[in-house]
Amino acid sequence: MAYVAVKGGETAIANAHRWLAEERRGDPAVPEIDVTQIREQLSLAIDRVMCEGSCYDRDLAALAIKQARGDIQEAVFMIRAYRTTLPRFGASEPLDTIQMRAARRISAAFKDIPGGQVLGPTFDYTHRLLDFTLAANGEADIPPALKSEEPQEYPMPNIASVFAHEDLLEVDVPTPDAPEPYDLTRQPMRFPAGRDQRLQALARGDEGFLLGLAYSGMRGWGNTHPLCGEIRYGEVDVEFVPEELGFPIEIGEILLTECVMITGGKGGANKAPQYGRGYGLVFGHCERKSMSMSMVDIALKAADAGEAANAPVKDEEFVLYHSDNVEASGFVQHLKLPHYVDFQAGLLTIRQLRAEFFERQRANGEATEPAAIGELVS
C-alpha cells in the first residue's frame, strides 16, 4: 500500500471549509435555526460565550454559537477575535451591584437574611428527568410564575451590609488613588498579580477549569471549604462618563451573577479574627462559574496571606496561566499542525541511540539484533 504525502493544497483547504459549512447546516430539509431563537432559547449558552468571550452582546454570541455549530469554546474564540478589533471608548464607572434588580438572591450562611431568600429561575431542586414533551410536540403554554404581592426590597441588602455592624467580614476597600485597573487584553500576564488582574483572568477563565480547581480545593488539594455567603443574579446599570460631558450617564443594563464566598480567618497577633471573602462576578447567569471563581479567589488569597502554595488551586502562576480556554485550546490543538521537521530531528537521535545500544550489547555478547515489528506481528 502506498501512502499519499499530506500536503495541503489551497483547493483542499477551500473544500474543507465548504464541507464544514455543509455540516453546520445539517439536513437542509430541516428548517434553519435562527440566531434570535438561539439568543432566546439557548440563553445560558449565550451567557457562557459572553462571559468567557469577555464581550457583552447577546446577538453576537448567538451568531458565534450558530457559526460554531454549538461548540461553545469555538464560539468564545470567535467572540474574542472580534472583540479585539473593536475601538475602545474608555472604561465604565465601577458597577454598583447592591443596586442590582435581583431576579435571584440566596445565602447559605443564614436561614433568612434581610431582603429574603429569592429563588428566581433556577435548576436547583428540579429533578433532572428528561421532559419528552419538549421533544414530541413542543411544550404546552407555560403557566406564568406567580407574582409576589409584596414588592421585593430594593436595594437588596448584600452579605457585606448584613455583617457591617460587627466588622465580622473582611471588606474590600477601594484604594482612593488606585491606578487604572489592570487589563489583560492589553497587557501580558504579570507576577505577582494584583487582585484586579487575578479577578479579570478568572472572570475570562474557562468554567470547566475553574470548576475543577474549586472542586480540588474542597476535596483536600488546598483545604478550602468556604461557605456561600451570597449569590445574586439580576440587572445592573452601566454608567459611563463621556469626556465632553464630564458626568456619568447610563448607557445600558447588563445581567450579572455575583457570588461572595466566605471563609473563616483566625486572625493574627495584630489582626482580629474575621471572615475572609472570595469574589466572583460574571456576565449573564453563570452560577457555577461565579461560585468556582470566588472559591479560587479565596484559595489564592490564602496563599497571599502566607499559607503554603501546596496545591494547584493555591498557585497563582498555575491557575492564571492555564485558565484561559482560548489559549489552552489553541495550543493543545496546534499539535495537529505538521511537526515532521522536529520529528525527523528526534528520529535521527533515537536511531543513533538505538544503534549505539545494540552495538554495546553485541560487544558484551548479550543479545541480538532487534526484530522488526512486522516479523513479530506476522
Binding site: 495541503g8 493544497g9 489551497e10 477575535a81 478589533t85 487584553t185 504579570r190 499542525l337 521537521v341 530531528a345
Partner: protein
C-alpha cells in the same frame, strides 16, 4: 516561481490595514525595537487575540502585521514548505488584509514568516525572518515558574541549562536535543531559537538579515539583530554539531540540506527529500536530479506551484 500580483483589499476594509489597529501596531513595533536593542531578551507585549488559534502562529502574525507594508513581498513556510496547510492559510491572510504580494522564492521575499525552519538559501541584508514561537522560554522545561526564569535571566544564571546538557551526555553519550536547541545571544541572553532543528542554528549566527521571534500566547517578542553572535551551547569535549544524513535528497540530489523522511509503504521503504521545498525546486530547475527524480511528490509540488 514569480511574485504573484497584489490582491484587492476591498472586501476586508472592515478591518484596518494588516488587520491590527494602528495603536496596537505601534505597541508591537516598540516591543520589536526594544527586542533588537537587547538581543535575545524576551520583551513582554500586549499580545492580541487573533483570528487564528494560539499555537498556530499568532505571535509571528502579529510581528508581521506590525512591520508589513504594501511594498513588501511576503513568503510563508511551515516545516520548510510553502504548501503546508497553515502556511497557505497565513499567506492568504496577509494577501487579503495587507494587500501584499506573495512569493515562494526566498530571495524575492522581504519578509519570510516561518514555523520550524530557516530557509536553506542564506538570507541577506534587507530581509526579515519572522519565526513563530510556541514557548519563548529556554529554561521552561527546567523551571516552570515565570517569576523564577525571569530572575534567572536577570542574573545570567544559566548553570542549570548546562547541567541538563551534561546529564544528557552522561545518560546517552551525546546531547540529544534535536530541535529548539538553546543558544547564547551576544554573550548575554540564553534564547530558544524556536523549534527549528539544530541544523538551522548556525544560520542565526552573524546573519545579514533581521531575525524576529513572536510568541503570541506567551506574549513575548525577542530578536537577533544582524551581525550578532549566536552560539549554540556546547562543551569543549562535546562540541555542537548539526544533523547529517547518509542519504541525499531523492528529488534534487542535495547533499547538504535538511531532509524529511517520506514513508512510501508498509514495507519500510522511504525516501528522503529536502524539507525546504523551494530550495529543492530551484535545484531541480537547474538540472540537479536525485535517485527518484520525477517521483509523484515532485510533480505534485510543481502542480501546486
Amino acid at each position: 516561481m514569480t511574485v504573484t500580483a497584489q490582491q484587492s483589499n476591498q472586501p476586508t476594509q472592515q478591518y484596518n490595514y494588516a488587520y491590527l489597529d494602528e495603536q496596537t501596531k505601534r505597541m508591537i513595533r516598540r516591543a520589536i525595537l526594544k527586542a533588537l536593542a537587547i538581543p535575545g531578551y524576551q520583551v513582554p507585549f500586549g499580545s492580541r487575540e487573533m483570528p487564528v488559534p494560539y499555537g498556530w502562529g499568532t505571535g509571528g502574525i502579529q510581528v508581521t502585521a506590525a512591520i508589513i507594508g504594501p511594498d513588501d513581498v511576503f513568503k510563508c513556510i511551515d516545516q520548510g514548505a510553502d504548501d503546508t496547510t497553515n502556511a497557505v492559510s497565513i499567506r492568504q491572510f496577509f494577501a487579503k488584509v495587507a494587500d501584499v504580494a506573495t512569493t515562494e522564492a526566498t530571495s524575492e521575499a522581504t519578509i519570510v514568516q516561518s514555523r520550524h525552519r530557516i530557509p536553506e538559501k542564506t538570507l541577506k541584508q534587507g530581509q526579515i525572518l519572522v519565526l513563530q514561537v510556541p514557548q519563548p522560554e529556554p529554561l521552561r522545561g527546567l523551571e516552570a515558574r515565570e517569576t523564577e526564569t525571569r530572575a534567572m535571566h536577570a542574573y545570567e544564571e544559566y548553570g542549570v541549562k548546562y547541567v541538563s546538557l551534561y546529564q544528557s551526555i552522561a545518560a546517552h553519550g551525546r546531547i540529544t536535543t534535536g530541535a529548539g536547541y538553546p543558544a547564547m545571544v551576544n554573550q548575554r541572553y540564553l534564547m530558544t531559537p524556536s523549534p527549528i532543528p539544530k541544523f538551522d542554528n548556525p544560520k542565526i549566527n552573524q546573519s545579514d538579515a533581521i531575525m524576529l521571534f513572536g510568541a503570541g500566547r506567551e506574549k513575548r517578542i525577542y530578536a537577533v539583530p544582524p551581525h550578532t553572535d549566536v552560539r549554540s551551547l556546547d562543551f569543549e569535549d562535546y562540541p555542537f554539531e548539526i544533523q547529517s544524513w547518509e542519504e541525499i535528497c531523492a528529488l534534487c540530489g542535495s547533499e547538504d540540506s535538511y531532509l524529511d523522511e517520506v514513508v512510501l509503504d508498509d514495507e519500510g521503504n522511504r525516501m528522503f527529500v529536502c524539507s525546504d521545498t523551494h530550495h529543492c525546486s530551484v535545484r531541480r530547475d537547474a538540472g540537479h536530479a536525485g535517485p527518484l527524480a520525477g517521483h509523484a511528490l515532485a510533480t505534485a509540488q510543481e502542480a501546486a506551484e
